[in-house]
Symmetry: D2
Subunit: 348 residues, 4 copies
C-alpha cells in the first residue's frame, strides 16, 4: 500500500501516518520527492486496507493499494487453469463447454423438446430457469419448484447436467437437490450472504458479472465463495451497463482475457442477455470463443414469439444444429475440445 | 404500446402482428406512413408487454411502450405527495427529514456518543448498520444482532427512530423487532424476494437506488413493495456508477426532481456514499436540499480515522452542529420544516 | 511516479526499470515488500510520464502517477481563486455570474427581445449561438456571421457582454471581433488545436466539459490554454453521458467542489443542456449554486415551442424574472454577489 | 414520429399538437387509448424533428422518432455492402483489410523498418500519425508535416497506401497531398466542420467512434460526410468509456453487427487503443474478425519501450508475422480474403 501525501503536508502529518502504519504491525518506507512525500507500507494490503482508513487522515492525498485485493482466486496463488468436471463434462483448460436451454421452464413439453434439441446440437449442459428475477412485479416470475422437477426429467432423458439460478438463500435447499451447477444472476453478484451460503454448500457456482460490477469486484465476489472452501466457480460475462442502447447491455469481451491474466478460474460468456435480439447473438458468440472464453451460455426456444420471458433473444430450437456448427469452427480454431457427446451431423 | 414495423415489412408480417395483438384482447390501430407502418396497440401496456414478445416477430423494428410500467407508485395513480410518519417524525410534503449516525455500529460507546450528538444537532432519525455488505470478504462485516441491541439502547436514550439495513430475507425477523425503518442497500435494489417480503412485513422501507439502476427501474422496485400492500416507501439517491473516478460514485441529483414528477413517494439523498470523502459531502448535501429532496442520510463518527468502515466519508461528530446549521439554511429557503426536535443553538 | 512490479518480477527486470529511470535523469527508490517490489521515481512526473513507457516493460504491473498532470491551473500553483473581469462583470471568488440568452440567434427580433429580458432579470452576460454543432446534418446549423452582428446590436442596447461559441479555428477571427467570452462546446473539449489558438488569442474562454471527459482531462484541456499564456478560463459542467436516460445527460454537480479543491479557476454550470426539459432546470440551477458554482449559463426564448434548436429546454422569457429571483435566494445564501446591474423588482 | 400525450392531457392540448403537425405539412393520426392519446405524424421525421419542438408543448409526455435520423448511409437506402478500393486494396464485402504501423512517426528509420515489416506480415495499408491529439499539453504532439514526407517514402518503398490522421481543417491541404485515407480520431467524431470539409474533399475517410458516441450518432457523423457527396467512409470501433478501468476503454464489439444491420458502410476495429496493453490485443483482434469486422487497425513498433506515444500497446515489429498469421486463421474462417499482397511464410 502506498500513501501519497498532499503537496505541502507537514512533518507532523507525515509522522502521524507513519505511526499509524507501524502501530498496525507494518513497515513504513517514506520517499521524499521534490514536491510530495510517498509512504510505502510493507505488509499485507488486504488486512491493512481493511483495518486503516488513511484516506481520511490530514495531509493524505490518496492511498494506492499494491497487492490485489483477492487471493484464493488469483493467478498468483494458483498458476494453472482450474478445470471443473461436472457429471463428466469438463470446463476450463482446453475444454469448451456449451450450456444451452430455455430462459425459463414454462412447460414440461417446451423444456423436453428444447433439452433434446440441445443434446442433439452438442450442448454439454442444460440451462433453464425455475426462479426468475424480473424488473417488473407484473412479469412472469417463473414456475418455481415444479420447474425443478421438469429439469430433472430432462436430465434423466438427455443426460445433460442442469444449470439453474438461485435468487435467495431460502431457495438453496430445493435447488441443491436437483442442480448440478447453481447460477448466481447479474443482480446477485454482490449478494454476499448468498455467495457465502453457496460457498459452504460446495456446489459448482456459475457467477455472473453484474451490470455495474468491475472485473476486480467480480473476482472479489468469487473470493467470497472460495473463502468458504468452495473453489468450483465459473465466471460469466453477460454485458455491462453503458450509455449505448442499441443493445440491451454492452458485452465486455475484453473481460475474458483480463480475467485469464488475473485468475485461474474458467470464464464463459452469455451473449443472449447482453444482446437482447437474436440476430446479434451468433457473431458475439463466435467472438467470445476466439477471445478465449471457456464456454457459452445461450437461450433457445421452440417458438420464441410465444415465450413468457426474453423471447426476442432466444435461438429457434430447430436452428440450433447449424448455430452450434458455426460456433464449433471457432472452438476448433482455438484448439479446444467441446465437452459432452458427439454433435449431430450438420450440412454446413 | 406502439409497434414500429421495419421499412419494407410485408403485408403478411403486418397482419400477423395485428392478429397477435387482437388475440391478446387488445385493439390494433395501424398507421401507414410513406416509409413505415406503425401499429398502435390499445390496452394495458403492463399486461401486454409482459405477455407478448413482439420484438422478435418478423418485420418488427421496435416496440415502444406508452404507459409507464409502474402504477401504484406513480404520480398519475395518486397525485398528492405521500407523507410518512415514523414515531412522530414526518417525511414527505413540506417536511425535511435528516437521518444521521454511524456507518456501522462498532461499539456501544461509539454508537451512544454519536446518537446523542445527532439528536443534539437536530437529526430526526438515527442510522446505524448491524449487517454490512462489503465488497471484500476480508473486510469487517458488521456486528450483526448485537448491534441491534445497541441501537435500541440508543433509541431509548435519545428517542430517535432507528434506520438499519437488512441484506437478506433471513435477517428480516431480527431486524423487524427493532427497526423503525428498514434500509435496502444499493446492491439489493433488485433483490426482488427481499422487496416482496418487506412489502408483506408492512414496515417503512428506505429503498436505495443501485449503482446501475435507472430511475424507472427504481420505481419498479418500489412497485414490488407496493404491490404487496406496503406503500410506506422512501426512495434514496446515492450515486450511480460512471466513468468519472474523482468521486466514489456520481451523485445524480436530477433523479430528485425527475422522481417528483413521476411519483408521489418521498425521496432523500445519501451524499456520504456517493462522494466517499468528507469535504465533498456538505456542498452536495446543500445541493440535494434545494433540488427538492425530502431528506438526507449521512454518516458521522467520533473519530473517523479509526472507523472500521467508510471512515474517510464520516463527518466528525463534534462538527455536526455546524454542519446541520449550514444545511438547515437550505431547508428554510425551501420553506420546509425539519422533522424532529429543536436543534442545538449554534453560533454560525 | 511509482512503478509497481509484478509478483515474481526478476532482479534483472527490476534493475532494468531502475536503469531506465536513472537514464532519464530521475532518482529511483526501490521498496522491496514481502510480495512485490515498488520503485519510486523521484522527479517531475509530467516530463517523465511523457518520456518513458514503463507500463510496457517486462515485469511491470502498473505505473502510478503521483503528481497531478496539470500545473498552471492547479490550486497548488496558485492557491487563491482566480477572478476574471469582463466589461466590469466579475466571475470567481465571491461573485456570481448569470449568463443567459437564446440557445441560437434565430432573428434580430428574437435576440433583442430576449436580451432585454435577460438584462431586466439580472443576467450579467448574454449567451447566443451563431455557429451550432448539431448531431444531424439535417438540423439547423446556426445563422453564422450575421448572428454575430445581431449579438453586437444586443450588447450595444443592453450593455451585456457576449458569450458565443466557436467551433473551429477558422471561425476564430470573426468571433474574436465581437465576443467578450468565447465558448468551447462539449464536443470540442479535447480539440487541442482550437484550445491552443484560443490560448494564443488571449480572450476569456468558457470551456465546457465533454460528455466523456473526466475532471482531470477537463483540467488538462484548460492547461492547454494556460500553457499558451492565457489563464482567463471559466470551466463549465454541462452533464456527462451515463446509462440513465430520464435526462439528456447526467449533471455531475460534484464536479464543482472537486474542481474547487484542485484548481483556482472559476466553474459554472449549464443545467439547460444537461436536463433537456424546462421543468428540471430550476431545481438543478439552485443545486448548482449551493454546491459552490461561480455562475450559471441558461437558455431562454420568447416562444420556445417555435425555437429552431433546443426549444424544450428554454425558459420562457416572460418567466425569467421569477426564475432569477428564485436562484438569487441561493446566491444570497452563499454570501455571493450577483455580477451585473440591479435586477427587476419581482413579487415572489 | 409519434407524439405520446400525458395522461390527462386536455382536448385543447391534443388539438394544438395536431394543428402544429398539420401546419408543418404532415398528416396527424391520433389514437385515443384508455389512458393516453398517441398522435402519429406521417411525413419525413428527419425534417419534422428538425423543425418542430413538440417535447416542449403542454400536455406532451414524449416524442418518439420512427424513421432513422440518417439516410444516405443507411442499409435501407443502399442495401448492398459498400466496397471501397484504395490503390488496389479493397475494403468491405468479402475483403478483409489489415491496417498496421506505428502510432506515431518518430523517425525515418523507425517508420521504414516498421513499414517493411508490416508489408512482409501481410498488412494492406500503413498507418502512422503525423499530428497527434494528446490529453496533456506536455506530451509529444507528433512531428507534423515532416512526418508526412517520411510516410510518402515508406509508401514508395513498400507500396502500402497511407492512413494518417487529420485533426483540424487547417491540416487538410497538407494531409490530402499524401494520404490515401484520412483518419478522423475519436475526439473529432463530432467535429462537424472537419467532417463537412472531408466530405467535400472526396477522399476516403476512416471515421472513429468517439468515447461517448452512440452507434446512431456515429452514423449521423458519417451522414455529414456523405451529405457532401463523399460516400467513401470506413467506420471504426475503438472502445467506449465505461466504469470499467481494467482496460483503457471498453471495446464494444457488438457495434460491428449492429452497424452491419443498419448501414452498408464497412466497419473495422482498433483493438490497440481500446485495450492499452499489448497482451490483450490479439484476443480482441481475433474476436473482432469473427464478429464480422471488415478489417483491423493496429499499432506496431520496433522497440515499444522507447516509443514516444502509446508504447505499451504496440506490437513488437519482429512478432508481427506470427501475430498476423493468428488473425488470418479467423479471416479464413469467415471466408474473407485478405486485401493486399501475399504474406510471409510463417511456421505456426
Amino acid at each position: 500500500m502506498m500513501i501519497v501525501m498532499r503537496q505541502g503536508a507537514t512533518e507532523d502529518e507525515i509522522a502521524h501516518v507513519i505511526g499509524r502504519i507501524e502501530a498496525a504491525g507494518a513497515q513504513a518506507h517514506p520517499s521524499r520527492g521534490e514536491f510530495v512525500t510517498v509512504i510505502g507500507a510493507i505488509g499485507d494490503d488486504r488486512e491493512m486496507i481493511a483495518g486503516l482508513s488513511l484516506e481520511g487522515e490530514a495531509g493524505v492525498e490518496k492511498v494506492v493499494p499494491i497487492l490485489k485485493p483477492y487471493k484464493l482466486v488469483s493467478r498468483e496463488f494458483h498458476s494453472e487453469d482450474a478445470v471443473l468436471e461436472i457429471r463428466g463434462r469438463k470446463i476450463g483448460g482446453d475444454n469448451f463447454c456449451l450450456i444451452a436451454g430455455p430462459c425459463t421452464v414454462e412447460t414440461r413439453e417446451q423444456t423436453l423438446v428444447t433439452a433434446r434439441a440441445m443434446k442433439e446440437a452438442g450442448a454439454a449442459m442444460l440451462r433453464g430457469g425455475a426462479f426468475k428475477p424480473r424488473t417488473s412485479p407484473y412479469s412472469f416470475q417463473g414456475l418455481g419448484e415444479p420447474a425443478l422437477e421438469i429439469l430433472v426429467e430432462a436430465r434423466e432423458e438427455t443426460g445433460l447436467p442442469i444449470v439453474t439460478e438461485v435468487m435467495t438463500v431460502a431457495q438453496i435447499p430445493a435447488v441443491l437437490e436437483v442442480a448440478d451447477v447453481v447460477q448466481v444472476g447479474a443482480r446477485n453478484t454482490q449478494n454476499f450472504d448468498l455467495l457465502r451460503e453457496l460457498g459452504q454448500a460446495g456446489i459448482p457456482v456459475l457467477l455472473k458479472r453484474g451490470m455495474a460490477t468491475t472485473i476486480e469486484e467480480l473476482l472479489l465476489s468469487a473470493e467470497y465463495i472460495a473463502a468458504e472452501g468452495n473453489e468450483k466457480i465459473i465466471l460469466c460475462e453477460r454485458g455491462i451497463r453503458t450509455f449505448e442502447n442499441a443493445t440491451r447491455s454492452t458485452l465486455d469481451l475484453s473481460a475474458v482475457p483480463v480475467v485469464k491474466q488475473k485468475s485461474r478460474l474458467p470464464m464463459i460468456v452469455d451473449p443472449s442477455h447482453a444482446m437482447g435480439t437474436r440476430d446479434l447473438i451468433l457473431p458475439m458468440a463466435r467472438a467470445a470463443v476466439v477471445a478465449g472464453a471457456d464456454g457459452l451460455i445461450v437461450e433457445a426456444h421452440p417458438s420464441p414469439e410465444t415465450a413468457l420471458c426474453d423471447g426476442p433473444q432466444a435461438i429457434y430450437v430447430d436452428q440450433m444444429n447449424a448455430w452450434v456448427a458455426d460456433v464449433r469452427r471457432c472452438v476448433d480454431l482455438m484448439g479446444k475440445v467441446m465437452a459432452g457427446g458427439e454433435p449431430a451431423e450438420v450440412g454446413v
